[in-house]
């Protein structure tokens, strides 16, 4: 069996393309971190690096593993990544996998809340807008979309935090972060507003996609037929129009979920949530190479998995894709 035939097996070509993409990302991130000035020593010691003797710097280079060639540093990190330890976070004295175990669920929870809120808001406003194109309600819906796209997340976050804290003395994120298992009520309060900020960011593109998709579907023959058969309006809206417009909405949602993982950085910072975004940001400042590289690889893998999940959802929505 030759290689071309192997590639034709279901999933083989896709798997190879995913692995190549991930390898490319790992090399790119690894090299970018080495190109920017500074290293783990300046990240850890700051200006006090100037007080270190050449002998001390040499010892520290060995300690941080940056005395090896770039190739060996990459191999060493990749071995650690594939073993599931993801490398060592020197400033905290624990492995990157230990840090990630506590930070990844925070970011995933935040991204899920943001996506769910965004999809509900986006589809609802999109449907509301598309029902009467060119009307006042359409204008209001589009204005929401425009504002949600135009207002940066950090402005919205800061505004919410300031108003809630100053006017209502309410800022639950000032307390220690609680997981949903430790204290579900506190977790809900700590996640509600950051989730809403991300939700609004997701809602804008979802709303615009929903509106265009619905307007395209609404003139189709099967919609006219459904109306002609006397199917109730609500049923036509949801079962016929919305369902047949879902492909671009699901695509947009998948893309947005991926972006949310990265976009959560600022929101996590303002709402003091100990998630992956903050972990990456802190690690970049400290030039903790393994933490940055492994965290970005985890994001990349998740992005790939979301794309796969989106494909699966496509097939559920439109079985014709299977053919």
């Amino acid at each position: 069996m030759n290689f071309r035939k192997v590639l034709k097996f279901p999933g083989v070509s896709r798997t190879l393309s995913v692995l190549t993409t991930l390898f490319g990302i790992s090399v790119f991130v690894f090299l970018v971190l080495r190109v920017i000035p500074g290293d783990s020593i300046t990240g850890a010691f700051g200006i006090e690096t100037g007080a270190l003797t050449p002998q001390q710097i040499a010892e520290l280079r060995v300690y941080y593993g940056i005395d090896k060639s770039l190739f060996m540093q990459y191999i060493s990190w990749m071995q650690s990544f594939l073993s599931g330890k993801f490398g060592f976070a020197y400033s905290t004295g624990v492995s990157v996998s230990t840090l990630t175990k506590s930070s990844l669920p925070v970011t995933i929870e935040l991204a899920i809340i943001g996506t769910v809120l965004g999809v509900i808001l986006g589809i609802a406003i999109g449907m509301f807008s598309a029902k009467k194109p060119g009307s006042t309600r359409d204008f209001a819906g589009q204005l929401f979309g425009l504002l949600a796209l135009a207002i940066p997340g950090f402005v919205l976050s800061t505004g919410i935090v300031t108003i809630m804290a100053n006017k209502f003395h309410y800022f639950p994120n000032g307390y220690e972060y609680m997981t949903p298992w430790e204290n579900p009520w506190m977790n809900f309060q700590q996640m509600m507003f950051p989730g809403l900020v991300l939700g609004i960011a997701v809602a804008a593109p979802v709303m615009r996609t929903t509106r265009s998709a619905l307007l395209e579907t609404v003139d189709k023959d099967f919609v006219r037929t459904a109306h002609g058969k006397g199917v109730p309006n609500n049923k036509v809206q949801f079962r016929h129009i919305l369902r047949n417009s879902l492909i671009p909405i699901v695509t947009m949602t998948g893309i947005q979920f991926g972006y949310l993982l990265g976009g959560a950085v600022i929101v996590e910072k303002i709402f003091a949530l100990p998630g992956m975004g903050r972990q990456i940001l802190d690690a970049i400042m400290k030039r903790e190479y393994a933490t940055v590289q492994s965290s970005i690889m985890i994001f990349a893998i998740m992005f790939v998995l979301i794309n796969v999940a989106t494909d699966i959802v496509y097939r559920k929505i439109d079985p014709r894709i299977l053919k």
């Binding site: 300046t42 905290t92 309410y170 000032g174």
Partner: protein, 508 residues
Amino acid sequence: MKISQRRIRGLVAIASTVSIITGSLIAAGPAQAATKDLNIGLTLDIDKLDPQGATSFATVRALGLVYGSLVEVGPKLDIRPGLARSWGFNAEGTQLRLHLRPNVKFQDGSTFDGADVKASLDRILDPANKAAARANILTIKTITVDGLDVTLDLTIPNVAILAALDGVNMSMLSSDDIKAGNIGKTVNGTGPFKYVSWEPGQSVKLAANATYWGKKPKLDTVTFRVIPTEASILSALNAGTIQFSVITSPLVAKQAGSNLKVYKTPGLAYVTLQLNAKVAPFDKLGVRLAIQCAVSRAEVVKTASSNEGKVIGPITSPAYASDPKARPCPNVDLAKAKQYLTDAGYPNGLTIKTMVAPTQFATASGTAQSLKSQLAKAGITLEIDAVDDSTFVTRWLAGNFGSSVANNGGRIDPDTMYTRYFTSTGNLNKVAGYSSATLDANFTKGKSSGRVADRKAAYTAISKELEDNAVWIWLFAPYEYRIAAKSVTGFIPLATGSLLELRKADMS
């Protein structure tokens, strides 16, 4: 548009649900416990548990409550007894005898004595341990212990070494811990609070140390909580979820609500435009003096720091502080600035570049912008080269810059503050970009004399040389803000940035 009753009912139901949820969240915000648990908001997490190697502000502040040093710096920047209850120099200033406090216990119950002092100082002096304060005590030749008496023999007369014995980087550690290689793994100090736990990226918890040698702290626990932005910290203070914080941004501090107390103290740190005299065009004295004459420090304070800060000269140590009016061009003199430029060969002005790390300190970008607009009036175009913190440090240490806007730490003694920058053998002389035989001689004179008048004369001469040659453009000392809930009482702020006086704080 006609709205049906059904729709109105629906809208009312949605509005009611939203208001009930929001209202209940606000009303049922987490109740504040009526205990003496102080929550402190810091923008950064600690990064190590070894106090002698601590360099980040967060680590220094948290571990400063757990460990003790031989001497302490008081609110008036006076040197006070710490783990040493008294001390004395010989007439030549080459020997320091310290008498230790009796009955001091480490938090593991073991007794503190001279052997711990020797082991701690030896650990700092050993280059393998990368202790941050090693350079400050390199003049120690031998350490002799006799019970609770410790004698430090010095290679040269050095009375300034006493001030260098203060601080977290000079923490006294248990000799048993050092021997067992436990430093950085376990936390065992003599300070007013003992370490409980560290949740990386989230919080550090401390509890009152019942065996502390001073008065037992009134607070039951102190928790340092990581809240990454100062604006969010202020929100948490306003909401009452934390009760104390250290803020660096004057803009944020000014927004503190009436339910909060703001302790504002001029710090020892200073903001400066560092000029690298080894790089053109700053190798020309005329260019440096032109910048000196074109910059109004008061204007920088007003525009970059919301009018919060004190105009300073090179030395900020209160006992030896430089007089900012003694510098050439104490007020802006554009005619003189242009004349200096013409004499230096730049009659049509020139373009210079300055390196800034906007996230390094709150007023970094504002200071650079203020300098840019002021220098433009003298025909100097300032290009701002904004970089991230780590890039700044790397280029700064390598002397790879023409000029840079920096916020450098100050010390209570000018010797430890500037020897490393402005003596020809100082480890940061490459960064300073300037040294001279007269500076070397004056630093030696200042270090070796036990008489305050002699020391003052030496440091005044140093200050004058630095200003007359416009080595750097010293701008202002930013204030340090500690913001506390009104329920926090008895706290005394220290200009060193230490939070040690939380040992006297209480919560009502």
